[in-house]
């Protein structure tokens, strides 16, 4: 006979609590360091371009994933401008607390590249739409840390 009972409470069966005790120190890498430096120092997005395939990669990588060309010397910089490719609306709340407000999370296709970036958009859920043109708002230069969070949020480009 196999399983004979269905415990319904966590403490109903004998158990032993433990953790998986590791943490991580990731390297941003060759491409990642250039990306971070460009964002911090010039407020631009660094991307790599494969001339042969005609593709500009964002996030940047030092190789073309299509033809394996070395792109470590093939950089372009693009401004923090793009179009909302897709979005969702999520409640902002501290753990366990009722929702106090809503925020818009979008994947933004960056103009002139194949890719894009994930970001918060300062726009009301009623006003947002797929295809909306947006631009990034950066932290002041002195407060930038060379991390993606230097992009505080995106906002609609008013035409």
């Amino acid at each position: 006979m196999g399983i004979r009972e269905k415990p319904t409470r966590m403490d109903q069966v004998q158990s032993w609590r433990a953790d998986f005790p590791v943490e991580y120190l990731y390297t941003t890498g060759v491409a990642g360091e250039r990306f971070a430096k460009t964002l911090r120092e010039r407020g631009m997005l660094a991307a790599t371009r494969c001339q042969r395939c005609g593709v500009t990669y964002l996030p940047p990588r030092i190789y073309c994933q299509r033809c394996f060309a070395d792109l470590s010397e093939s950089w372009v910089e693009v401004p923090l401008q793009g179009v909302i490719h897709t979005y969702t609306v999520v409640p902002v709340r501290a753990t366990g607390e009722p929702s106090q407000s809503l925020e818009v999370i979008a994947y933004i296709r960056i103009d002139g590249t194949e890719g894009g970036i994930l970001g918060r958009v300062a726009v009301s859920p009623e006003a947002v739409y797929i295809g909306m043109a947006v631009e990034g708002v950066l932290a002041p230069p002195a407060e930038r840390r060379g991390a993606v969070t230097d992009i505080r949020y995106f906002k609609p480009i008013l035409s």
Partner: protein, 389 residues
């Protein structure tokens, strides 16, 4: 075991530097090894039909689904790709995995890439291993891997009357061999006394009997017979493969003798038509994450009498110019140990040795057959490949 009809050749190999802390991400390391392997085979990425990505526990790099994450750096973009993962045995298992894909007739060219970036894991990659023990009977006592290796080495020494001076000689040999390896991380000219003077990490294991924490990547290109003959006049054939897992209860294994390595080796020898391994294998890269492990594994591979590998070592049989050069690369003890990449590094070494391209590490006598072996999973798998020309 059935006979496999399609022949499979190794036609290219690539390796990054092995180091304590690489600036590059795992994807970037993979790219350097993979592109070098392709270049050495005279192929381009578009010539590759399928990709094998091999890497150890996700907990090392700290990226869950690591094989999939590495895939584009490993040349797997929009291609059939599979991850090869049997813990420390992964590097040698990856060529077995790639061999299947070509031998089956499904693909003519397969790129095999192995990567590990252990430096991400803090405070030490050891932590990633703390959960491999039985959570009811062992983990409450706080065991770590060093305990287990020390217990195994102790039993091995006791069973056969082996001294720690003899074990230390493995570190001396391999770290010296690694002085000629351009990718080596911990090459050194040491004495047995230096090794025995280093800190005891868990008696009888000393610091210099343990391989280091490493970042690195390795890659090879496999091809079917007709493709291999078209692109190279020096194909190195995969003549036999084998692997085997012992029980997951480490204490239920014969700690003095790796039976699972013997079974894996017998499988590979049978496929390769090898009856007398000690005469027919000319160069060997057994897995050496700990010094005693090289001797342990040489016995399991039937390349030394049981309990006598230490004596052979002392007599110079395993030196680079000895009767059976063992770890001519410098092994994990000398080149370094980015887990999966270290196993595939051993395959690369046999490839270069059989082609006569090992430079200052070249063993004399024009070797025709070589063997690479790795070990891992819950310390219970043996993975073996026999290469020949």
């Amino acid at each position: 075991m059935r006979r496999i009809r399609r022949k499979v050749a190794v036609v290219g190999a690539g390796l990054t530097l092995f180091m304590r802390r690489a600036l590059e991400t795992g994807k970037e390391l993979s790219y350097y090894a993979a592109s070098q392997a392709l270049e050495s085979a005279g192929l381009r990425l578009r010539d590759i039909e399928a990709v094998v990505v091999s890497s150890g526990p996700d907990a090392f790099d700290g990226v869950h689904m690591k094989g999939e994450w590495l895939s584009d750096g490993a040349g797997g973009y929009c291609k059939p790709i599979m991850r090869s993962y049997v813990g420390g045995g992964s590097g040698v298992f990856s060529i077995i995995h790639g061999w299947y894909m070509v031998a089956s007739g499904m693909f003519d060219t397969v790129l095999v890439v192995a990567e590990e970036k252990m430096s991400s894991c803090q405070p030490h990659p050891q932590g990633a291993f703390l959960t491999i023990f039985d959570h009811t009977l062992e983990r409450p006592l706080g065991p770590n891997l060093l305990w287990i290796f020390a217990l195994e080495q102790s039993r091995y020494m006791h069973t056969y009357g082996i001294s720690n001076e003899e074990i230390a000689l493995v570190s001396v040999k391999n770290k010296r061999n690694a002085l000629n390896h351009p990718c080596a991380q911990v090459a050194a000219e040491l004495t047995v006394q230096d090794v025995l003077s280093s800190e005891v990490v868990a008696w009888p294991v000393h610091r210099l009997m343990v391989s280091p924490v490493s970042d690195g990547a390795a890659a090879i290109v496999l091809a079917s017979e007709h493709v291999a003959k078209r692109i190279t006049d020096k194909p190195v054939w995969v003549e036999g493969v084998g692997w085997c897992l012992d029980t997951s209860y480490w204490g239920n294994r014969d700690l003095a003798y790796p039976r699972y390595v013997e079974y894996a080796a017998r499988m590979a020898y049978e496929m390769a038509g090898i009856r007398e391994p000690r005469k027919e294998i000319h160069v060997v890269e057994p897995y050496d994450p700990f010094a005693y492990k090289e001797l342990h594994h040489l016995e399991g591979l039937l390349l030394a009498e049981r309990g006598k590998a230490a004596e052979d070592l002392v007599n110079g049989r395993f030196d680079r110019d000895g009767e059976l050069p063992s770890c001519p690369s410098g092994g994990l003890m000398g080149v370094g140990n980015p887990i999966a990449a270290a196993g595939l590094m051993k395959v690369c070494e046999i490839f270069w040795q059989l082609r006569g391209e090992a430079g200052k590490r070249q063993v004399p006598g024009n070797p025709k057959k070589g063997l690479a072996q790795a070990w891992g999973d819950l310390m219970q798998i043996g993975t073996v490949v026999v290469l020949g020309r």
